[in-house]
Amino acid sequence: RYTRNLVDSGNGKFNLMILCWGEGHGSSIHDHTDSHCFMKILQGNLKETLFEWPEKKGNGEMAKKSERVLRENQCAYINDSIGLHRVENISHTESAVSLHLYSPPFDSCNTFDQRTGHKHKVKMTFYSKFGERTVC
């Protein structure tokens, strides 16, 4: 799967990280735990699909709002009031690299099952921190 590599933890006010996406790698649909999220494409392309928040009970396929392909050097922003999204590298030939800034930092979020809208809290982990591989 894609890797999350922490570059800078600010002064506790933000997390700056680099995500590396192999061919075909994609994220789940997720929220952003009330934080601001900026994303910049450093290499390759990433497809972002926006989803509406599911109804309280979450029953039935989640509704897509929009989708777009972000090219190299393009930026995107999201927060919980805008909605949820899935980010994917849909290329089968090129890998992709993106830079993410989250403020305030968060280490858990909810992932959503697209078919039912059911959410599940997950803890997010880093593949590496400040250039050092984190041991699981």
Binding site: E23, G24, G26, S91, H92, T93, D113, Q114, H120
Partner: protein
């Protein structure tokens, strides 16, 4: 490829000719004795002479470890590359493949296989005979079912099946104890219980195969044609704990939902060797004793919990 390439660079280990518009890789390739990595992505390869004949017999047939032919126009896996016994990584992503040849099992050293973004409709059970396969990508294809034999891929760590046409999974998927990643999004997985007890009576070949397996009739590879030896190696055990039977292609199918670590309910297809067998997990619409229901639920959920980071996205 430039003529005399091997004379200029006899020690060449890595060659990247991606994005050069090549329609053919010529015989100049065969003279590179130390080539370990060949990247030829995003070209115009796909015709019958895309790869030079005698690829497997050349010195690089033994030295080549990584081959990337993604983003080309291959309509079939070129048979010449199936003889690359040392190949560890093969990518044919983003081509025009409609099927995977059973002879893919010849790539005995294969650890990484990327076939995403093609038009593949089914997976040959022979794929399960690759002993070292740990990373298998089949996303963005037209696959309708997964052969249960795939559960024999004991080294499998990552299985990518997203964006296909799967409605259910074989129950045996729970046996992949080393599987750390599984992607299933974008498949029309059934969300309601489906009762399907259609049963095609087994063929004579299947009946003979079952007898050989269940009665432990001894045989040596020299006793049988090669295709039958392979057929016999693909037997699956009936999941009914009270039945010691095996089946090959003919089986009763029942769909049972299994909770993965309490997160997602996945429809798993139970194959049973005959209508007389009952699934270890009884059907939801029957009112069986609560004891046996919970026992079989536990068995399934324990197996499901063994899968660690299941990426269902």
């Amino acid at each position: 490829l430039p003529v005399g390439l091997a004379q200029w660079f006899p020690a060449l280990e890595e060659l990247d000719v991606s994005g050069t518009g090549l329609a053919e890789l010529g015989t100049e390739l065969l003279a590179l004795p130390r080539l370990r990595t060949l990247l030829a992505k995003n070209n115009r390869l796909g015709g019958p002479s895309s790869l030079p004949k005698g690829l497997a017999q050349a010195p690089l047939g033994r030295s080549l470890r990584v081959l990337n032919l993604s983003g080309n126009r291959f309509a079939e896996v070129p048979p010449t590359l199936l003889g690359l016994r040392g190949l560890q990584s093969l990518s044919l992503g983003g081509n025009r493949l409609h099927s995977i040849p059973p002879d893919i099992q010849e790539l005995r050293s294969l650890e990484f296989l990327y076939l995403g973004g093609n038009f593949i409709t089914s997976i040959p059970p022979e794929l399960a005979n690759l002993p070292s396969l740990s990373y298998l990508v089949l996303c963005d294809n037209k696959i309708q079912s997964i052969p249960p034999q795939l559960a024999q891929l004991h080294s499998l760590r990552s299985l990518s099946l997203h964006n296909n046409l799967l409605t259910y999974l074989p129950r045996e998927i729970l046996n992949l104890v080393h599987l750390e990643e599984l992607s299933l999004r974008g498949n029309p997985l059934v969300v309601r219980f489906v009762r399907d007890l259609t049963y095609n009576p087994p063929s004579l070949q299947e009946l003979a195969g079952r007898t050989i397996k269940t009665r432990n009739v001894p045989y040596a590879p020299s006793d049988l044609p090669e295709n039958l030896v392979r057929y016999l190696s693909l037997a699956s055990n009936c999941p009914n704990p009270k039945c010691g039977g095996v089946y090959f292609d003919s089986c009763v199918r029942q769909i049972k939902f299994v909770d993965f670590c309490g997160k997602y309910r996945l429809p798993l297809m139970h194959y049973l060797c005959s209508p007389e067998c009952s699934s270890p997990c009884s059907s939801a619409s029957q009112s069986s004793t609560s004891q046996s229901e919970s026992d079989s639920e536990d068995e399934a959920s324990v197996a499901a919990r063994r899968m660690q980071k299941v990426l269902l996205g």
